[in-house]
Amino acid sequence: MSNRRFARTAGWLALACLVAAGLLAWYATRQPASPFAQEQAASVDPSQVSRGEYVARLSDCVACHSLAGKAPFAGGLEMATPLGTIHATNITPDHDTGIGAYSLADFDRAVRHGVAPGGRRLYPAMPYPSYAKLSDDDIRALYTFFMHGVQPAKQPNIPSDIPWPLNLRWPIALWNGVFAPTATYAAKPSQDALWNRGAYIVQGPGHCGSCHTPRGLAFNEKALDESGAPFLAGALLDGWYAPSLRQDHNTGLARWSEPQIVQFLKTGRNLHAVVYGSMAEAFNNSTQFMQDEDLAAIARYLKSLPGDPRRDGTPWQYVNADTHQDIPGAHTYATRCASCHGLDGKGQPEWMPPLAGATSALAKENASAINITLNGSQRIITAGVPDAYRMPAFREQLSDEEIAQVLSYVRSTWGNHGDAVDAKAVGKLRGHTDPASSSPIILQMR
C-alpha cells in the first residue's frame, strides 16, 4: 500500500470514528424494534406451551442453559471464550434471577437480537445471529413455554471473569451491526415447502452454523445461509472438528442419503457414523426430538448445498489394507481399536462407526480424531435409553506419541488420506480437554 493511499484511508477512518463516536452511545444501548412491542399478554394456550417446548428443542436452549442434576434452564454452563469465561444465564421465569420480568418484546429482543432489557448486549455465544431467523410465531410460542412451561428457579447468574475493558458490552453492538442480521427467515419461492422448512430450521433455531460454519477473524460465522460458500463447510470449535454438512464427498454429506441423514439425527447413528463430541449433545438434547417431517426437511435442505472438490480433496474410496503391518500404529490399532472398528476399518454399523472413510480420518483438521481418542465419547441417549456401546477414553493408556501413531495409521489406511497426526497436537488437546463422563447425562426441560 502506498503512503498516499494509506493517508487517504486513514482520513476516512478518522471521519468514520468521529461519526461512530457520535452515534455510539445511542447505537450501543438502543432497544431494537420488536413486533411485539405493543402486544399485551394473552391468556395461555396450552398448545402454545407445547409448541414452544418444541421450538426450544429445535433451538437446543437446554444445552447451554441447564446443568445436569440442576433445575432446568437455571443456567450455569461455563463457556470458555477467547476473552474469558462466561456462564449461561438463568432463563427460568423466576422474577428476580431469571427472565420472569421479561415482556414478550424483551424476550424477543434477547433471543433474536442479543439485547437484554436496558440495552445490555449479550455475548454472541448466544446464537442470536441464527435465532434472528425465528418466525414471530415461534418466538411467541417459545416465550409462552418459558413463562408457563418452565418452573421458576431462584439461581443468581454467575458473572463472567472477562477483565476490563474486554468486558465492555457496547462493542458487541458494533459487531452485531456488521455480523448479526435482524431479518426473520424469508422463504425462497424458488424452493418447495420442505426445502424452506429445512432451511429455516438449519439456519434459524437449529443454529447448525454455530459449529459447522467456519468463523472469521471477529469470530463471526462466515456465512449465515446458503448464499455463502463457507456456510456449513466444516469448522473447528472447542477441540472438535464439526464436519462439512455440504455435498462434500470426504468431509461432508455427499455419501449420505436423505433417509440416512434423518436416521442419524433421529437415532444418533447410521451406516456412516455415530454421533460424538459436541454433536452427541446436540443429538441427546435436540435433534432426536425433532419431528420426522422436520428431519426430512433438514435432510432435503442439506443435500441441496453443493460441495467444493478443491476444498474437499480427492474423493475417498475404500482400499484393502495389510492389517498386519509391523508398525506401532498398526499394532495399537489391532489391539485397541479393531475390536469395535474392525481390522478392516469398516466398524460394526450401525453401532460402531467405520473409520474407513470417516470424516475425522479425511479432514485436514485432526482435532476430532485426537479428542475422541483421548477422551472417549459421552453416552448417547436415544429415546431415554443410554447406548449399548461407548468409545472408551485412552488418555490414561496411550501416550501422545502412541495416539499420534495410531491416528496417523487410521488416517492413512483403507483409502483414508488425512494428514499424519503429530504428538504435539495430541499433547496440546490433552492439556485442554477432560475425559467424557461415562454416566448418562440427561438434561431435563421440565
Partner: protein
C-alpha cells in the same frame, strides 16, 4: 438345581436326620458318588466340636468309591492356590496324592474355624500358615480311620498295616485295599484321639514343599471353572443396579419409572437404599433399563448410615488436607529419644511422602445370587473371604436365624481384599431385598461401572519423615508421622482404643537398627470409604520408609544396599535374605550403567517384612519415552518354610504385577465427589507390556511359617522408586510414577 456347592444346609445345633450315606451329586465330577461326608450337624461332628479345632474329619473329607478325595477347605480359592495347598497338606498326612483331590470351599460353621488365631478368614496371607499343623493333623486322623477300617476288613492288627498313596497295605499278606473301598467302613470309625497321632517326618514329605500342579489349572484354562457370576438356578431372574453418584445420597423420585417398566424384558423396577434396581429376564436388559432410570438423587441426610461422600471431595484436595494436619499424633513405636537425637544431630533429613487411592479392580465384577426357599430359609451364593461373618450379616439383614441361611462360596475371580464385609460395597444386601420382593431367585451383577463407583479404596497417607545422621552419615534417629486412616478404622467409623495396625504397618515393625525412632499416626477420618488392598498398610508404608531410607543413604554418603546390610548387621535372617537377592541379581550394582541394548539403567533395593514373611527386592529400570520401564525384578522371599514353591513363584509374580501397577500407573482419582474412572479405560491396570521379568528366590530359614499372598508386594514400589531416583536424580516421594515427567 445342581451346583458343585451342594452341601446340606445344617448347623451345629439343628438336629438332622440325614442318612450318613447320603448321596451327593456334584457337577464338578459329573458323577454320582457315595461318600462318608457327614453333615455338619451330625452328632459325631458335634461331639468332635467339643474337642479340638480341625478334628472333625467327616466335616472336611469325603472319600469316594473311585478313591478321589473331596476336601472342604476352610479357605476360599481366589487364585492364590490355597485349595491346592490344602490338598498337599492333607494329602501328605492322609497319604493320598493331591492330584486325586477335589477341593471346594466349606460352608460357614464352627467346624471349619481352624486358624490358630481362632478365626476363619481368607486374608492376611494367613490360610496356610495359620492352619498348617491343624490341617496336617486332619489328614493324619483320616488316615488313622482308614487304617482302622482296613484292619477290620482284612482282619489283621492295625499295627501290621501301612499306607501307600490311596491304599491301605498289608505287606505281610501282600493284600491291599483302596481308600475308596474302605470309605464306607471308615465311616463307622471313631475319630481317633488327636494326641495319638504322629505326623510325618518332614524329611519324608512327598508333596509338601514340592511344586505340585494346581488342581484348578485345567478347569481354569477351559472355561469350566465357575465363579459367582456364572451361577444359575431354576426360575432365576437377573438384576442390575444404578447407584447414587455419591455414597450416602438417597433416591428421590424416578422420573420415568413407567417408561423403564415397559422396556423389553423388564420384570420390575425397585428402589433400594442409595440405588435403584431393575429385575429382568436377562442381565443385559436389566442393565440397559436401570441405566435409563432418571433418578432425582437427594443429598445425604445427617442420619445417613453410610459414610456420605461430600460433593466437593477431591482426592488431590484431600491429600493437601492431610498434609496440613498437625496432630495430635499417637505413637505406635517410640524408642530412644528421637527429639534429642534430632536436636543434637549434625545432619538432619526431612521429607514428606504420599501415596494414592487405589481400587481393587479384580476382573470378576461383584455379584450375588439369592434364593428364598419355600420354608423361608435363604440360600445365597457370593464371593467372600469370611463366610461366618457374611452369614451372620446376611441373617441379620434378612431377619433370619443364621441356621436359616445357606451360604455358598464359589471361586473368586480375584479378590486382593475386595471381598471382605464392606457394608456399602457389596451386592448381596440388594440381592436379598430383590429376591424377597419378586419371590424368585435373583442374581445381581454389578456392572464394571457400578463396581468402580462403590468399591472401597486403599487408603492414602501423607507421611512426614525426619531423621538424624551421625557424623559417619549413618541414621541414628527416624521419625515418621503419618496423617491417615486405616481401613479398619474406616470400617469401624472411628479410631479404636488401640491404633489400627493396618494404618502404620510397614512404617512400624521395621527391623533396621536405628536406636531412636518414633512412628506415629495422626488419625484423619476421611470422606472416602476404605478397604483392605493386597498387603494393606504395607502396600504404602514400606514404599515411604524404604524410599526415605535411600534418601538417608544418599545424604550420608552410603550405598543403600550397604547401608541396609549395616543396619541389619545383628539380624542374620534379613542379612541372609538381602545378600540372597544381591547375589540373585548378579551382585549388587546400583548404576546408572549402560545395558547391552544401549539403554541407561539403574537399580534400586528395598525390603519389607509383612504378614510373617520377609522379602527383599531389587528392581532394574530405564526411562523409555518419558515412561519408567521396569526390566527386571529380583525378589528373595523368606516365608520360613513352604508348601508349594511353584505357587509361591506365581504369587510373587502376581504381587510384583500389582506392586508395579500401583507404582507405575494406578490411581483412583476423585473429583466433585465422584470417581473419574468408571472402567479400566480411565483406571488402567498393569498391562502385559509393562510387566517386568520376575526372578524369584525362596529362602527357607526354617523360622515360623509366614504368609505368601501379600508379602512379595510391598518392597516392589520402593525398589522401583529408588532405582528411578538413582537413574534420574529425581526423588520419588509419591505414587504413581505416571504423575512424574521424566526425560
Amino acid at each position: 438345581m445342581t451346583t458343585r456347592y451342594e452341601l446340606p444346609n445344617l448347623s451345629l445345633d439343628a438336629p438332622v436326620n440325614l442318612s450318613r450315606r447320603h448321596f451327593l451329586v456334584s457337577t464338578a465330577v459329573g458323577a454320582l458318588v457315595i461318600g462318608f461326608g457327614l453333615p455338619l450337624g451330625s452328632a459325631r461332628v458335634q461331639a468332635a466340636t467339643a474337642a479340638e479345632r480341625g478334628t472333625q474329619v467327616p466335616a472336611f473329607l469325603e472319600i469316594r468309591p473311585d478313591g478321589s478325595v473331596r476336601l472342604l477347605s476352610p479357605f476360599m480359592e481366589g487364585g492364590q492356590g490355597t485349595h491346592t495347598a490344602m490338598a498337599q497338606i492333607v494329602g501328605e498326612e492322609l497319604d493320598a496324592d493331591p492330584a486325586t483331590f477335589i477341593v471346594e470351599a466349606a460352608p460357614p460353621g464352627e467346624a471349619y474355624v481352624v486358624m490358630e488365631n481362632g478365626m476363619r478368614i481368607t486374608g492376611g496371607s494367613m490360610s496356610v500358615r495359620m492352619s498348617y499343623p491343624t490341617m496336617r493333623r486332619l489328614g493324619a486322623l483320616a488316615r488313622a480311620m482308614l487304617l482302622q477300617a482296613g484292619a477290620e476288613q482284612l482282619g489283621v492288627p492295625v499295627a501290621e498295616l501301612t499306607t501307600q498313596p490311596g491304599r491301605v497295605v498289608h505287606a505281610a499278606s501282600g493284600r491291599s485295599l483302596g481308600y475308596g473301598e474302605l470309605a464306607a467302613r471308615a465311616l463307622d470309625m471313631p475319630v481317633p484321639d488327636p494326641a495319638s497321632i504322629t505326623l510325618r517326618d518332614p524329611s519324608q514329605f512327598r508333596w509338601i514343599g514340592k511344586p505340585v500342579k494346581r488342581l484348578d489349572a485345567y478347569d481354569k484354562s477351559t472355561g469350566k471353572a465357575q465363579y459367582s457370576i456364572d451361577l444359575k438356578v431354576d426360575g432365576m431372574l437377573h438384576a442390575a443396579v444404578q447407584h447414587a453418584p455419591r455414597l450416602g445420597m438417597t433416591v428421590g423420585s424416578l422420573r420415568n419409572q413407567a417408561q423403564v417398566e415397559a422396556m423389553k424384558g423388564v420384570h420390575s423396577v425397585h428402589t433400594l437404599p442409595g440405588a435403584v434396581a431393575v429385575v429382568a429376564e436377562r442381565w443385559w436388559h436389566a442393565k440397559r433399563a436401570v441405566e435409563a432410570i432418571q433418578v432425582d438423587w437427594q443429598e445425604p441426610t445427617a442420619d445417613s448410615k453410610v459414610r456420605a461422600m461430600p460433593a466437593d471431595f477431591s482426592s488431590d484436595g484431600f491429600r493437601d488436607f492431610l498434609a496440613a494436619q498437625q496432630g495430635p499424633a499417637r505413637d505406635d513405636e517410640n524408642e530412644g529419644d528421637v527429639a534429642a537425637a534430632l536436636a543434637g544431630a549434625k545432619t538432619k533429613v526431612e521429607a514428606t511422602y504420599h501415596n494414592q487411592y487405589l481400587n481393587h479392580a479384580q476382573l470378576e465384577p461383584p455379584s450375588a445370587l439369592a434364593r428364598f426357599n419355600p420354608d423361608g430359609s435363604l440360600e445365597i451364593w457370593l464371593p467372600n473371604q469370611a463366610p461366618d461373618m457374611f452369614r451372620a450379616d446376611i441373617a441379620r439383614r434378612a431377619g433370619l436365624d443364621p441356621t436359616q441361611v445357606t451360604l455358598h462360596s464359589p471361586l473368586l475371580g480375584g479378590f486382593f481384599g475386595r471381598h471382605f464385609l464392606y457394608d456399602s460395597a457389596s451386592p448381596y444386601p440388594q440381592a436379598i431385598v430383590l429376591a424377597k420382593a419378586v419371590g424368585r431367585p435373583v442374581k445381581l451383577i454389578w456392572s464394571r461401572e457400578e463396581e468402580f463407583l462403590r468399591d472401597v479404596l486403599r487408603p492414602v497417607a501423607v507421611v512426614k519423615f525426619r531423621a538424624a545422621l551421625d557424623d559417619k552419615g549413618l541414621p541414628i534417629a527416624i521419625e515418621a508421622v503419618s496423617a491417615t486412616e486405616g481401613p479398619t478404622e474406616a470400617i469401624a467409623g472411628k479410631q479404636g482404643e488401640k491404633l489400627d495396625p493396618t494404618a502404620l504397618e510397614g512404617l512400624s515393625g521395621k527391623a533396621y537398627a536405628i536406636p531412636n525412632k518414633r512412628i506415629a499416626q495422626i488419625y484423619v477420618k476421611g470422606p472416602a470409604m476404605l478397604g483392605y488392598w493386597r498387603s494393606v498398610g504395607n502396600s504404602l508404608n514400606d514404599f515411604f520408609y524404604e524410599a526415605f531410607l535411600d534418601e538417608l543413604a544418599d545424604k550420608g554418603g552410603h550405598d543403600p544396599f550397604e547401608l541396609r546390610l549395616h543396619l541389619l548387621r545383628d539380624n542374620p535372617r534379613l542379612t541372609t535374605l538381602l545378600q540372597a537377592v544381591g547375589e540373585q541379581s548378579g551382585g549388587w550394582k546400583r548404576g546408572p550403567y549402560t545395558a547391552e541394548d544401549g539403554t541407561r539403567r539403574a537399580r534400586g533395593v528395598a525390603m519389607a517384612s509383612p504378614f510373617g514373611s520377609h522379602a527383599a527386592v531389587i528392581a532394574e529400570v530405564s526411562i523409555d519415552k518419558g515412561q519408567v520401564k521396569v526390566h527386571q525384578i529380583w525378589e528373595a522371599i523368606d516365608p520360613g518354610s513352604i508348601v508349594n514353591p511353584a505357587i509361591i513363584e506365581a504369587q510373587v509374580n502376581g504381587a510384583v504385577a500389582l506392586g508395579l501397577s500401583q507404582t507405575l500407573l494406578e490411581e483412583a482419582v476423585y473429583v466433585d465427589g465422584k470417581p473419574r474412572a468408571r472402567n479400566y479405560d480411565l483406571y488402567p491396570i498393569l498391562p502385559p507390556s509393562r510387566m517386568a521379568q520376575v526372578h524369584v528366590r525362596i529362602v527357607e530359614s526354617g523360622e515360623k511359617m509366614g504368609g505368601i499372598g501379600e508379602p512379595p508386594l510391598p518392597a516392589v514400589a520402593p525398589a522401583v522408586a529408588n532405582a528411578v531416583a538413582q537413574l534420574t536424580g529425581q526423588r520419588i516421594r509419591s505414587l504413581p510414577l505416571s504423575r512424574y515427567t521424566f526425560s
